[in-house]
Every structure is written in C-alpha cells, then in structure tokens.
C-alpha cells in the first residue's frame, strides 16, 4: 500500500472512532448531560473529522462538518440551548456525517441532496453563520498578523494561569522564549491557555509570567476582550516543532512569538521581572515560518493541500494539536486515553487462532497416544501432560480474548436505526441500552448487526403503538425500546424489549391459518403462537411498510442467530410489550461438549444445551406411536430423540438396556432426551466449519477434530429435536413450511 493510502486509511479508521464518540456524546446530551466535558467531546469529534477531511480535500465532508461544528460551538459557548429539538437535529447530522464519511471512504459520489437540507437546518439554528469563517480557517491558515480583533459572544472569564512554576535560578541547555497573547476568539472556541502552558511544561523547565501591560483604562475596558498575555520560557532543550505543535490548535486566535536561544546567551528571567527581556535573534525563524513549516513545507501554497504531502501524516499533527484539550476533558471521566492499544489485522489474529486450534488438537492427540501406548506412564510424564493441557487452554482463552469486542459499537448503530424508523413512522421512541461493555467475539458482533437491525425495526414499527394510542392506554407517549447485553452461564444474552402492545396473538393465529402454516383445528399455546412469527413467509404487517414486514422477517433473523450457534425466544405480554431474547456463544472457535458414541461413530453434544445425563432403567422408556418413544424422568414424560435414527446412521433404535439418555433443553422445544450408546468424555473442542468445503448439514452444527485425528460432527440439538418430534408426531401441530 502506498503511504498516502495508508494515511487515508488511518484517517477513516479514526473517523469511525470519532463518529462513535460523537454519537455517544450526543446521546449523553440527549439524556440531559450537557456538561462542558460532554459538549467538548462532541465538538472535538466533529472537529477532528473536519480537520482530517480538509487534509484530504473532501470538500463536502468539510463543509458539512464545518456547519455542524459551528452549531456545536454555539452550544459550547452557551449561545445556543441544547434543547431536545436541537439535539435531535444534531443526532441526525451525526448520521449524515457518518454517511458522508462512508461515501468518502468508498469514493462514491455524494449527492448534494444527501446533506444540503440538514446543512441548511443547521445553518438556520446557528443563525446564518454570523461570524463566518472559512472552513479551513482554524487548521490551515498561515496568515498570522498579530492584530487584536474584538469578537462578540465571548462570555467566559479569561483563565489566570496561577500556580505555574516560578522562574528558577539556573539555566541549563537552550531556552525557548515564548510570547503568547490569546485573543478573545481563542476563549470563545473553548481553548484554554492553561492547558497549553501545562503541556509546555512537559517539554522542559517552565517559567511563566502574566503581563498586564495592555490593560486599558477602565473607560476603555471591554469585558469581553482579553488584555493579558503570557511570557513563557522553557529550559531544557525544547524543540521548535514540539512547541509550535502545541499552539497549532489556537493558531490564528492569538499573538505568538517563539524564539530559541542558546542557553549561554540568556539569563533566566528574574522572578520579579514584569516582562521577559529576551534578546531577539533575527536569524531565528519567526512563528510564522515555523507554523508554515509545520502546516506545509512550502510557504505560499495552499496549506491544506500541503499537509497531505507531509510524510508524518496529518493525523499525527492533528493528534498532537489536540492532545492538551483532550487531556483536560478526559480528566475525571472514566474513559481514559486509549494509549495501550495497537491495531492488528484481523487475518493475523485468525491465523493465530487457527494455529492454537491445531495446538489443542495436537495436545489431545499426544495425551491419547501416551495413554494408548500401554506402558506405565511415569508420574512426571502424566503431570507434564496435564500442565501442557492447562497451558494450551490458557493460550487458547487468551487468544480468544483478543477477538472479543464490546457490543457497544453494535448498540450505537442501533440508536440510529431507532431514530430513522421513529421518524418514518411518526412515533416517539427512546432507545435505552444496557451492558454495552459486554464482550463477544468480533465475528458474532459483525454477524449480529443485520438480525439486530431487523428486530429493532420490528420493535419500533410493529411493537410500539402510535403516540395517541399510547396516550389512550395511559402510557407515556414516548415508547421505550430496551437493548441489553449480559454474560450468562457462558453465553451472551442479548434482549430487545419494547413497551408496546405485545404480540397480537389472535391476529398472528389468523394469519398463520390463512397462510396454511397451521391447521384450522390446531390448538396452540401462547408460546407456540408467538413462535409462529419465526416461520418462513410469515409477516404480521397488515400494511407492508418500507421499514419492515416484507415477508422475509423473523425467520431470517432466527436462521442467522442459529447459524451463529445461538437461540432466540419471544416473551410477550398483551398491553405490556414483547421481549426477544437471544443467547449467543461467546466465541465461534471452541465449545465445551459431551463426546458421545452412536453406532461406532462419535458425536459431540454442545454442553450449553445439556441439562443432565442418565442411564435409563428398565421401564423408563416407553413406546409412543409406531416408532416414537418417551422417557419418564421424575414423573415427567419427555420426548425421546434417538440420535442414530434421526441422523440416519441406523434404522433400528438404540439398545434400551445399555443406552444413555442426554437430557437437553432448548428454547424452541423445551426438554427432550437424546438417546446415545455411550458417553465418552466431556471436553473442549475446536469448531471446524463443515460448510467451507461441503455445505450445511441438517442436524449438524459444525465439525471438530478429536484427539485421534478423526473428524466428529457437533450436533445441532435444536434441529435434531425438531426433526425428532416431527417424526414421532408428538404434540406438535405445526406444519413447518419446508425450506428445502
């Protein structure tokens, strides 16, 4: 990849982080937290995107981000009240900004209609951009005439850099002398000289004095103007670039003079001296030159264009410039600076995971070989093997943890969906999220996006009632959709709950009957009716909207969840809303399972489905119909699924006298008993795809490789039971529409 593309890539990656921070901040504001920290974080996100976009000449992005930023700036300076309407507008703007970023990234054309309307709205709110400045101004300008400009709308007090270190006696190494006079505009943009000075202090030994020389008479005093300036000297070999980069963010809003002096040439500023009398060396570059150099190597050319040519990359410059502000804002909040992270290509991690998978298999083979060798295994070999097994497992878990990702990014995407659907349907909806920090395998997160989007749409479109209807039944007009994630017994449980009308069961049943999905006479329990929603070709929407209800609905959702090794269930209370619960595996790479034998073959039953295992005593198994069986467990009769028969490897049932029953429970079918010949072991197995080289197999979730090097099938308990209960014609009245 050429360096330019790499920098561009980095920019877009950072954009995503910024967009996510933006959305997070806006949602916080929506919840009433309009503290300066939050507003600053939001502002910073938009500003950084604008900055980077300018460097890459993404003009549409820049112009939109600019208006957006101006609007946020008004909120920051408290000239604009962040009322709910404004925040809604901002949230929509964030969506459009994300769209623009996506388009820029893909290089697709951007229609003006996409953002113009919103841009106009923003401009309206801002009030026509009274103090209009060109979009590139605050990161690109090298026009650096030190003039005093009175800018209106300035309300905060200039900060007094009190408590800064006093000048010290002994001078060591070169000294930088800085004259820094902030304009009121600097404060208006919520920059803070103190932060910059603090940052300067990290470059060397710092002495700072405040000069009051410019203070006018009381008659001429403008309370909105800043008359103070700072004289700063830094000892200890500070570099030009480091100093200028700290001022880059405020450049254009201050008078700045930086001079580098050799240590011997200058006496340290006496502590009582009102003004630092530093000799001016004419050969030293002026601040203008320095800044011009940082922004673009050649003076006189378009600075924004030049940034691109900088090998160091614009993002680096931006980051440095932003650092002081960011630090200030992050202080005291829980999100510390994300310093100890590296970006790693996903492929590399996957390769590592595959290798560790091989290691696990090999370790199992080794154990097996040693135990099969027949020789009396020396105690130390045995314990070494155990140690190896433990280590392997630890390594595997650590590697898996690399892939784990919080569901936060996924949940954030959902809030946009909610907004859009709410807009389209005219409903007032609030999305509440819980457990955003819950970690789950990256693949699962990625593959979950589509089903989750669909369910969220459904919840808003079908689940919630219209506002006037809600008022009639005494609910708040604003509906709530609750999205939460949590770890529960080795699985991740994601629930989507709405406080709407609940599932209209008579209507569901009627539709199912009309479509021939159930027989006319079938008596279904509430739960069974709810589960009709998951049947292919079922859609409750009386009027098919553009949002949901295209007939490819929950069955697709269910299938995607199942393909992830997960389960989905519904719980609905009429008048109180519905809850969809998805339980998903933490990882797609390994699972704990019970290794069983059926007719000389080995299968793995995922442990998550297993409730208990037992040896049926005589009389516990009884025939049911022609070839069906039931098992009596503690006075309850459960359907029996003979694995050998259902999987099709033998036609006669297992020997009743020697078989083992594995009691399993699934969301879709309740408790059942799987009959196998023998239980071999319980162990962790590496999941291998059967679909890569073959294809999906009904009743089989995936394959694995056992210690003896042979492949074993991992059973898909839910579909096995589905097939089993179908063929034994138990209490199931549903006629499943066959997909194949």
């Amino acid at each position: 990849m050429d360096p330019m593309a790499a920098i561009r890539d980095t920019f877009f990656q950072e954009c995503e982080e910024q967009l996510s921070a933006l959305e997070e901040g806006l949602l916080e504001m929506e919840d009433g937290n309009t503290s300066l920290d939050t507003v600053n974080a939001v502002f910073r996100a938009v500003h950084s995107i604008k900055g980077g976009a300018g460097a890459f000449k993404l003009t549409e992005l820049v112009s939109f981000a600019h208006v957006f930023e101006t609007c946020l700036d008004k909120i920051r300076s408290q000239t604009l009240q962040p009322d709910p309407d404004v925040i809604k507008l901002l949230l929509r703007s964030a969506d459009i900004l994300a769209d623009l970023v996506t388009r820029c990234r893909q290089g697709t054309a951007i229609e003006k209609s996409l953002y113009e309307g919103l841009q106009a709205e923003l401009e309206n709110v801002v009030g026509g951009l009274a103090d209009d400045q060109s979009a590139e101004d605050d990161f690109g300008s090298i026009d650096f005439t030190p003039t005093v400009i009175a800018v209106g709308g300035f309300e905060s007090e200039p900060a007094e850099p009190t408590g800064m270190s006093e000048a010290s006696g002994e001078a060591v190494g070169p000294v930088a002398s800085i004259m820094f006079r902030p304009h009121s505009g600097l404060y208006a943009k919520a920059n803070e000289p103190l932060v910059i000075i603090r940052e300067l202090a990290t470059l060397g030994k710092l002495a700072c004095r405040t000069s009051f020389d410019l203070l006018p008479d009381i008659e001429a005093f403008d309370p909105a103007e800043n008359y103070l300036s700072f004289e700063i000297s830094i000892e200890g070999n500070p570099s030009y670039d480091d100093i200028t980069s700290l001022f880059e963010f405020v450049e254009g809003d201050c008078d700045l003079k930086i001079e580098m002096l050799a240590g011997d040439d200058v006496a340290p500023a006496p502590a009582d001296s009102p003004v630092l009398e530093a000799p001016v060396n004419d050969t030293m570059p002026t601040a203008d030159d320095i800044i011009a150099r940082v922004l673009g190597r050649q003076a006189g050319s378009e600075p924004t264009g030049e940034v691109i040519a900088l090998p160091a990359g614009t993002s680096a410059v931006d980051e440095r410039a932003e650092k002081p502000v960011e630090k200030a804002a992050d202080r005291g909040t829980e999100k510390g600076p994300a310093t100890k992270a590296i970006r790693v290509d996903l492929d590399r991690i996957d390769r590592l995971i595959n290798l560790v998978g091989e290691l696990v298999i090999n370790q199992a083979m080794l154990s097996l070989r040693v135990s099969q060798s027949g020789a009396v295994v020396a105690a130390n070999v045995g314990s070494s093997l155990e140690e190896l097994e433990r280590l392997t497992r630890d390594i595997q878990e650590s590697v898996m943890a690399i892939r784990a990702q919080p569901v936060k990014s996924l949940f954030q995407r959902m809030s946009r969906i909610v907004r859009e659907v709410a807009d389209q349907t005219g409903k007032a909806v609030r999305l509440r999220t819980d457990g955003e920090a819950t970690e789950i395998d990256k693949t699962v997160v990625d593959l979950l996006a589509d089903p989750l989007t669909h369910m969220i749409r459904n919840a808003v479109d079908h689940g919630l009632e219209m506002p006037d209807r809600r008022r009639e039944v005494g609910k708040p007009e604003e509906g709530t959709v609750r999205l939460s994630a949590a770890h529960k017994s080795g699985k991740v449980v994601i629930t989507i709950a709405d406080d709407g009308a609940g599932i209209n069961r008579p209507k569901v049943l009627e539709i199912a009957r009309r479509k021939g999905l159930v027989t006319e006479t079938a008596q279904l329990s509430d739960n069974e009716i709810d589960n009709l929603l998951f049947l292919p070709g079922f859609s409750t929407a009386t009027n098919v909207s553009s949002i949901s209800g295209r007939g490819v609905g929950m069955d697709v959702v269910k299938r995607s969840i199942q393909s992830l090794g997960g389960r989905i269930s519904i719980d609905s209370k009429p008048g109180h809303g519905s809850v969809f619960t998805m339980s998903l595996p933490l990882t797609l790479a390994v699972l704990d399972g019970i290794v069983v034998s059926v007719a000389d073959q080995t299968y793995v039953v995922p442990l998550t489905a297993v409730v208990e295992t037992l040896m049926p005593e005589s009389g516990m198994l009884s025939s049911l119909g022609a070839n069906g069986q039931a098992i009596r467990v503690r006075d309850r009769f459960l359907p029996v699924v003979d694995v050998g028969q259902v999987i099709g490897i033998r036609s006669e049932p297992a020997d009743r006298n020697s078989c083992v029953a594995v009691l399993v429970e699934t969301d879709g079918h309740g408790k059942s008993a799987l009959i196998v010949d023998r239980i071999q072991d319980q162990r962790q197995v590496v999941i291998k795809s059967l679909e890569t080289n073959y294809g999906p197999v009904e009743g089989v979730a995936a394959a694995t490789i056992l210690g003896d090097g042979r492949v074993a099938m991992i059973l898909d308990v839910d579909t096995l039971i589905g097939r089993g209960s179908e063929s034994t014609s138990s209490a199931q009245n549903m006629v499943y529409a066959k997909a194949s």
């Binding site: 595959n354 998978g357 091989e358 298999i361 073959q601 080995t602 999987i647 099709g648 490897i649 291998k688 795809s689 059967l690 890569t692 080289n693 073959y694 294809g695 999906p696 197999v697 009904e698 009743g699 089989v700 394959a703 490789i705 090097g709 042979r710 492949v711 074993a712 099938m713 194949s740």
Partner: protein, 153 residues
C-alpha cells in the same frame, strides 16, 4: 517432471478406478494422500464417504466409483485420495490408485465417443485421450461435486 510446457500443453494426473483409466487436470490437484477412515456425514448423498481431517481442515471425500455409477469402493490402505480444489472448495476423490502424470497438447483431447445408453460417466467426462494405445477419460471435477448440497436432506 516436464516443466517446459507451452500454454497449449496440459498436465494430467492419471488414476485408475475399477480397471479404467481416468485423468484430471493437475492444476486442480492440491495433493495426493493415503486413505484414512472417514466420518460419515448425516443425510449426505450415497457417494459421499464422509469427511476426514486434512491437517486441521475438514475435507469431504467422494467415492468416485460410486459417483460414476460403478460398484462402490471398499476403501483400504492401498486406495489413494486425490485432494482437489474447485471454486475455493477442497474435495477429496477416492480412487483405486494413481498411476502417472502425463503432459499432452490440448488438441489431443478428443470428444467423448457416443456410447451405449446407461453409461453414466458421460456427464463427468469432458473428453478422452489416447495414451500408449489406452484410452484415458478426462474427468471434470466441477461436474463431480454434489450440486445441491444444502438439499442433501
């Protein structure tokens, strides 16, 4: 190994199945390995012997004799598995033995002769080649692959 092949040349791996010679394009062959017991796949076509572990990859094995309508093989350690790759999918072909690698000009491939009905190989054989007086049938691996895997049930 004849490596000075021009574009018109094609290298073929010749194998034997029930005393008949077949061949496949060497470009589609990844490796040749011995027989190991396969794990049956539920609800699969009768000619799918099952899957084996190929260094961590799950490799499906087709009994080529069964696929061609010949009596199914009774696999033993003398059998060979030709691991082929078609459309990014790996599939192993169980054959009696691998006998030769030949290099021919593409023009030497003749159309399959029209023979009596019921000769099911026709679907899988794209042409024939005369090699030292013997007829070798060129097998199309694409045609061998089970078509509607998802509907195997």
């Amino acid at each position: 190994m004849t490596s000075n092949s021009t574009p018109a040349d094609i290298e073929l791996i010749v194998f034997r199945l029930a005393s008949i010679d077949y061949c496949v394009d060497i470009m589609q062959v990844r490796e040749i390995r011995g027989w190991t017991p396969a794990t049956p796949i539920p609800h699969a076509q009768h000619y799918m012997l099952g899957v084996i572990n190929l260094r961590g990859t799950v490799l499906p094995i087709i009994d080529l004799a069964d696929r061609f309508g010949l009596p199914p093989s009774q696999p033993n350690e003398r059998n060979a598995i030709i691991v082929t790759e078609v459309k990014n999918q790996l599939v192993g072909l169980l054959v009696d033995s691998v006998s030769d690698i030949i290099s021919i000009d593409r023009t030497e491939i003749q159309p399959t002769p029209e023979v009596a009905v019921g000769h099911s190989n026709r679907d899988f054989v794209t042409g024939v080649i005369g090699v030292e007086g013997r007829m070798v049938s060129l097998v199309s691996i694409e045609a061998i692959m089970p078509r509607h895997k998802a509907e195997a049930a």
